[in-house]
């Protein structure tokens, strides 16, 4: 973070390629993340968007929030659509049918469209080595359809399909480590980011877009509606996710791990969880269990990271 001095915000473009006036909820961390990502991507881009919150809030016919070329087709196929765009552009340039120009191909999807239903298409596209950037906006459940659990939902969270009940703590599985799955494809760039760290987010998106070959950035996008917190807490919640180690920020560049935010002492996970209705039902022993797991995972990550 030290490289971002106070003058940096002035260097960020004022141009909004993801236009205001969309229909996202108040305090939406994902809309903020998309807005920041679009600032980092600039105008020479083609975006393939999966079905999900961002597609729905931004494109009710005949309106659009997109000031860059954008296509939505289905839910689980975004990485495949991006593959076709990338291959098509390359061939049209090669055959002289369109002018030589650096056009970044970007796929965008939520955590359901990425780590569940779209995983096969994403794995295929990464394995084939297409030159594209995949952005996963992770709000840790199927928010668009009404807060159903995904494989990216954290342990203990209550959702509409993993509800906390008399005999259930809510989600009984641990959050799928999607960045590790992306990294296992040995692609040149994998990173995590959060909309509460705008300059870090923009730098990672820009880097992922500039790198030749597949790049994957997973962006934690706090969701006041689904996580059940006050709409003015979005930024604070995102910061707490990082400061507690629940969602560490790091990069994997050509296989080398680097923590981009490293605190010598993580804050207790309870600081993060107590602000959110989705964790409110949890007993102290479950919170302790989560605390232990978070520290274990964080230490493993730290051990992998170059210093």
């Amino acid at each position: 973070m030290e490289k971002y001095a106070v003058y940096v915000p002035k260097l960020v473009t004022r141009r909004e390629n993801f236009a205001p006036g969309h229909r996202a909820c108040i305090g939406c961390g994902e809309a903020l993340a998309v807005r920041l990502a679009c600032k980092a991507l600039g105008q020479s881009v083609i975006i393939a968007n999966a079905t999900g919150c961002m597609e729905i809030v931004s494109s009710p016919l005949p309106y659009t929030s997109w000031r860059v070329p954008w296509i939505h087709t289905l839910f689980e196929n975004t990485a495949a659509v991006a593959s076709g765009i990338e291959a098509g552009l390359k061939m049209l340039v090669k055959k002289g049918r369109i002018a030589q120009k650096e056009i970044k191909v970007v796929a965008m999807a939520g955590d359901g469209g990425t780590s569940d239903i779209g995983l096969q298409a994403l794995s295929g596209a990464m394995e084939r080595g297409h030159d594209f950037l995949y952005l996963c906006f992770d709000n840790e459940a199927y928010m668009n359809t009404g807060i159903q659990r995904s494989s990216s939902t954290p342990y203990g969270a209550s959702t509409t399909t993993s509800p906390a009940g008399k005999v259930s703590i809510g989600q009984v599985t641990w959050k799928k480590d999607m960045p590790a799955i992306a990294a296992a494809h040995d692609i040149p760039y994998v990173a995590t980011a959060c909309s509460s760290y705008p300059f870090d987010l923009m730098a990672k998106v820009a880097k992922g877009a500039a790198i030749q070959g597949p790049a994957y950035v997973q962006i934690l996008s706090p969701c006041p509606t689904g996580w059940r917190f006050a709409t003015d807490l979005t930024i604070r919640i995102g910061r707490l996710a990082v400061e507690t180690g629940m969602f560490p920020l790091y990069e994997v560049e050509n296989g080398a791990y680097k923590l981009t935010f490293d605190s010598p002492k993580l804050r207790p996970v309870a600081d993060y969880m107590k602000l959110q209705g989705r964790f409110r039902h949890l007993s102290p022993d479950i919170v302790d269990k989560i605390q232990t797991k978070v520290i274990e995972k964080y230490e493993r990550l730290r051990a992998k990271a170059v210093r």
Binding site: N77, A80, S83, G84, L92
Partner: protein, 391 residues
Amino acid sequence: MAKRVGIEVSLAIAEAVKLANADVVAAYPITPQTHIVEHLAELVANGELDASYIPVESEHSAMSACLGASAVGARTFTATAGQGLELMHEVLYVASAMRLPVIMTVANRALSAPLSVWGDQSDVMAVRDTGWIQLFVENGQEAVDNVLCAFRIGEDPRVLLPVMIHLDGFYLSHVVEPVVFPEQSQVDRFLPPFKYPLPLHPDKPLTMGAFAMPIIYSEAKKAQEVNLEAAKEVILECWGEFGNLFGRYYSPVEHYHSDDARVLLLTLGSFSETAMTAVDKMRGEGGEVGLVRLRLWRPFPFAEIRQAVRNAEVLIVLDKAISFGGPGGPVCSEVRSALYGEDKKPKVIGFVGGLGGRDITPAGFEEIINKGIEISQKGSDKEFEIYGVRE
């Protein structure tokens, strides 16, 4: 000079795609489509076809990659069969509704379960209503010619629709036939490079695939229907022009001794050539029989079908697919429905046969025709007949 060669029909299709100078091929192998995509991969690997070959991880992704490639203005081809066509099912609707002219050959195959890699038309019938232009070819020459025509029709700015070319798996895909290949220069004249009017490009940002509230969805669907109907004009125009250039003319419905026939058989695809043998034999023995073959499946050629069968007394329709619990074969029920309002029309008798690679021989066609005549006279307590099944 155009050259006439003996070639496996699957390879001939790949050669036609090469002549069409496709930009992107995205495909997943499935029997009996494999030889088409293998040969395309080979042509790309040898530098004979300057295209990007995307070896996708599923048919769903094959069609999805085709959407992306087509949306930036690339000439795009894929091929599939059976289960593969079903796996890409939902993507097919998107291609037609978003006006992306992907061209696809389907080597028609039975559907699981039980698993069968062999031919019938169950796969096709399940994608009937996906909004694609669809046609059935009978032989290798027709396949090659119609691949070229499909690009021209689909990419026509008045049309901009995807086109599916159906050929019977194995019966046609795997046989060696004599095929005349047009010269590259002739093809280039007939088929100029694809110019998509509204491609995705940063110079002119567009939003494609926005979602529709109830206030606009119905209008979008009506527009699609009107557009597919109107495509028929362009299809006829294209076939006419193709005929003038290459000397081979195509029409939505083919006739074989149908003018004076009292009894007509209606088939699709390569079965028709076998049926012709049966018709010849029966005519030689004094039978007043003829054959009608449906080439254009969507948009459905209502006028041509009504015209083709109006003088017959009996029309026997042979389907290679079952609509379970329904009226039998999908083709039969459509033909019957097309004729329902006509004053002068034949009795329509439905047969289902040739499922999962079961052969129908010329003698079998004779049997079907004779049985159809018998049912037309005596009636039947069944909605349709299943031919050639052991009881």
